[in-house]
């Protein structure tokens, strides 16, 4: 292949227009040709330069356009003397129109592949902006309206109204009144009240029922649950903090299209993404009488206040793929593709004004409390403290969690208002795996004091040291959290060989163990992978924002094992015959003596295929 041909092909590949059979020889050429590699990297410099720009630069011409049109009066008819349309325009458009009709318009994919077509501009800095906006919010009060469609065949639409109140750093009141016009009085209402105030939370709601069990589902009456002695920023609390600033939903940030609009007299920016990314935000409503299930790759349009990035509206639209239709059939839903399934709106949003004392009401009298085991220690507790914290952070609650059968854990927290950091330390961890629920696949991180381990999404860092195990969590960007963990005076060691994370490796080690490994190139919107090597089998786990993520597993083999599930379909993957299982969310194929599997419960088949296309042999 000549260099000129290679550059022409690189240009096509950059736009996702290179055929699969030409991509192999191109990769081989570029690997051996330094000047073509430079060309490729310059293409990406050009793309970065053109694509990324500050949000908020776009002027709003609508008022002037409308005023001009109003002054002109009714639309004028076309005169033959007009320059538009120019000769040739119509036949070209007709030719184009034929192409439009022939083309199958697939639902948008939200994988950011820098080797594929560019994502529309201006969203690259959104994750940073969301993180930066956190401390600006000390309180929030808003009215809520939630409309849900397709929950039950006999109830086409449910309507909830209510309010949300938040006081930094972790007090929250969410009230929803069920205003649905049910077919008859035998249908129970699903009102919700959830109140979190520092060391306690309580919730009054009906126990969730499967929609098909309604209206006979018991119990019909709401139940109240009260939990006291709550640890600061406890994982187990149903606190939908992403309703206030969608930090979790944007932690790793995918490049997503942005639009500008005005909602409720506020300038808003819109982000098109999938349900999986906004899962932490939607999670806040899980308790509301069992909302319907949504398909992870359903389209989600999220509108954020341009200045504060508080969510103002969220709309979920049923995806249009065949897999979506099969998912609906399997889950008993009759969603038409493209219909709006969920419409959430926050109105009368008031920020940073003092909230009245009754904003966070106490639980009803006589409710028996469950103690969560946290004992505050106002004078401080022994345990490592970070030497570095982001500016503005001050100590917040600290104490000890002691449960009868678990280890004793010292908890220290810091906050600047909304953003927080927590260090949990124990000296009697039984071992076997890392302390702190980091998940099955972790990523080793180099800390100044030794080795640490990061969860796939970078939101949790575990350190195993002599006689001490530490977990660092918080609502910070992964790099900042790593810096906090690195400033603890703790000498982290690799985990013992018998622990579950012992097979954790770096990508370099995986490449040494399995040369020719397929690795995604130019993949945006996902963090660096957590890698695991078991003999010649390698797993790479990639986490994205919200619940988005996928697992890439490769093992020697020349044929796929018999399908574990009858619901598989044949798919063409990278010029090979592969298969896709909807139930497992798994795409599998064989390539160069290796069985390759891409698995995700939160990405669509289209997105998995886009990732597969981006894999390159290393």
């Amino acid at each position: 292949m000549s260099c000129e041909r290679a550059r022409a092909d690189l240009s096509l590949a950059a736009d996702g227009e290179l055929s699969a059979e030409r991509s192999g020889p191109l990769t081989a050429h570029v690997q051996a040709c330094a000047s073509c590699a430079v060309f490729r990297s310059r293409l990406s410099t050009i793309r970065q330069g053109l694509r990324f720009e500050a949000v908020g630069e776009v002027p709003d011409v609508a008022p002037r356009v409308l005023a001009t049109l109003a002054a002109r009066g009714p639309r004028q008819p076309f005169g033959p003397a007009r320059r538009w349309p120019r000769p040739g325009w119509q036949h070209r458009l007709l030719r184009g129109a034929a192409a439009c009709l022939a083309g199958v318009v697939l639902g948008a994919t939200f994988i950011g592949l820098s080797g594929g077509r560019p994502a529309p501009v201006a969203s690259a800095d959104l994750p940073d902006r969301v993180l930066a906006a956190q401390p600006a919010i000390t309180s929030l009060a808003a009215d809520l309206r939630l409309v849900e469609r397709g929950w039950n065949p006999r109830v086409p639409e449910r309507v909830f109204t209510g309010r949300l109140r938040y006081q930094a750093p972790e007090s929250l009141d969410l009230e929803l009144l069920d205003r649905t016009a049910y077919p008859s009085a035998e249908w129970a209402r699903n009102d919700l009240e959830l109140v979190v105030t520092g060391d306690r939370w309580w919730m009054r709601a009906r126990r969730p029922c499967p929609p098909e069990a309604e209206p006979q589902c018991a119990p019909r009456q709401p139940e109240t649950r009260l939990v006291t002695d709550r640890e600061p920023f406890a994982d187990a609390t149903p606190v939908p903090l992403d309703l206030v600033t969608p930090v979790q939903s944007f932690m790793l940030g995918a490049p997503t299209p942005l639009e500008a609009s005005r909602i409720d007299a506020r300038r808003a920016i819109g982000v098109a993404t999938t349900v999986a990314q906004v899962a932490p935000l939607l999670g806040g409503f899980d308790a509301a009488g069992g909302l319907r299930e949504l398909y992870a790759a359903d389209q989600a349009e999220l509108w954020l206040d341009e200045r504060t990035l508080v969510p103002l509206a969220l709309r979920v639209i049923a995806a249009r793929t065949p897999e979506r239709a099969r998912w609906a059939a399997a889950h008993g839903y009759r969603d038409e593709p493209g219909t709006v399934l969920l419409d959430l709106a926050l109105r009368r949003v008031v920020l940073n004004r003092p909230l009245p004392a009754e904003a966070f009401p106490p639980p009803p009298a006589g409710v028996r409390a469950e103690a969560a085991g946290f004992a505050p220690a106002p004078t401080g507790v022994p345990g490592p403290a970070p030497a570095w914290l982001p500016p503005g952070f001050r100590p917040y609650r600290a104490g000890v969690v002691a449960t009868p059968h678990g280890p004793t854990v010292v908890v220290r927290t810091w906050t600047d208002g909304r953003a927080w950091v927590k260090v949990r330390t124990t000296r009697n961890w039984p071992g076997g795996r890392l302390f702190g629920d980091l998940g099955a696949l972790v990523r080793p991180v180099k800390l100044p004091g030794g080795t640490g381990y990061s969860s796939e999404d970078g939101a949790r860092i575990g350190i195993h040291a002599q006689g001490m195990d530490v977990l660092v969590t918080g609502s910070l960007a992964a790099a900042a959290l790593e810096r906090v963990a690195g400033s603890l005076a703790v000498a982290g060691r690799p985990v013992p060989s018998g622990w579950a994370e012992a097979a954790t490796a770096t990508l370099d080690r995986a490449l040494a163990a399995a040369p020719g490994l397929l690795v995604p190139e130019h993949l945006w919107g996902f963090g660096p992978p957590a890698v695991r090597v078991d003999g010649k089998a390698v797993s790479l786990a990639f986490a994205g924002p919200g619940a988005r993520g996928f697992l890439l597993a490769e093992a020697p083999g020349t044929r796929l094992s018999p399908p574990a599930d009858s619901d598989v379909q044949g798919v063409r993957v990278r010029s090979a015959d592969g298969r896709y299982s909807l139930a497992l969310g798994e795409l599998e194929w064989v390539e160069h003596g290796r069985v390759v599997s891409l698995r995700s419960t939160t990405l669509s088949l289209e997105e998995l295929l886009a990732i597969a296309q981006s894999l390159e042999r290393r």
Binding site: D15, L50, V58, P59, D60, L69, A70
Partner: protein
């Protein structure tokens, strides 16, 4: 780029100004970004964005749902942009403006990339921009620019060759 709901387009065609406003707000970021790079002038881009939507309103009754609405809007924007370029060229000739200075290094920063793109000929520049800034496919780009797909392909490649071979004098492509 998302397609508006057909009902909104139909309402706008029928003269519903609220529906038309929705279309303006949906497409103005894309139109403005494209024009800003095409014209290399934010203030002029704003004016031409406005002109685009005024033209669009006039032409709406001719939109027959034969093609994607977004492609159609961008085509109107592109034509308004080319008209503006031509009138500026005339003006520049009259004013005997100095030519665009030619940078001598490979563009690295965002500002350098923009300056480099601005020095491309309008044909190469518009082809590159509909692909890079708007993220259109080559087929859609062909519809917007009114040229065959093969022409899009070769113009985008030529634009990139010139931008990456920036060290060469006069901005001409050469071997790296």
């Amino acid at each position: 780029m998302d397609e508006p709901e057909p009902a909104v387009i139909r309402a706008a065609i029928a003269g519903d100004m609220q529906a038309f406003e929705r279309l303006v707000r949906q497409f103005q970021p894309h139109v403005w970004r494209f024009l800003r790079h095409l014209l290399n002038d934010a203030a002029l881009a704003e004016d031409v964005t406005q002109e685009t939507f005024l033209r669009l309103y006039q032409h709406l009754p001719r939109f027959g749902f034969r093609c994607k609405f977004s492609t159609w809007v961008l085509r109107v924007a592109r034509n308004a942009g080319i008209d503006a370029l031509r009138s500026r060229e005339r003006h520049d000739r009259l004013a005997r403006d100095a030519p665009v200075p030619t940078p001598v290094l490979a563009p690295e920063t965002r500002a350098e990339v923009r300056a480099a793109v601005a020095s491309l000929s309008p044909k190469l520049r518009e082809a590159l921009l509909v692909i890079e800034v708007l993220g259109l496919s080559y087929r859609e780009a062909g519809q917007v620019l009114g040229v065959p797909v093969g022409t899009v392909k070769s113009r985008v490649f030529q634009a990139r060759e010139r931008l990456t071979a920036w060290r060469a004098e006069g901005g001409r492509a050469s071997e790296l």
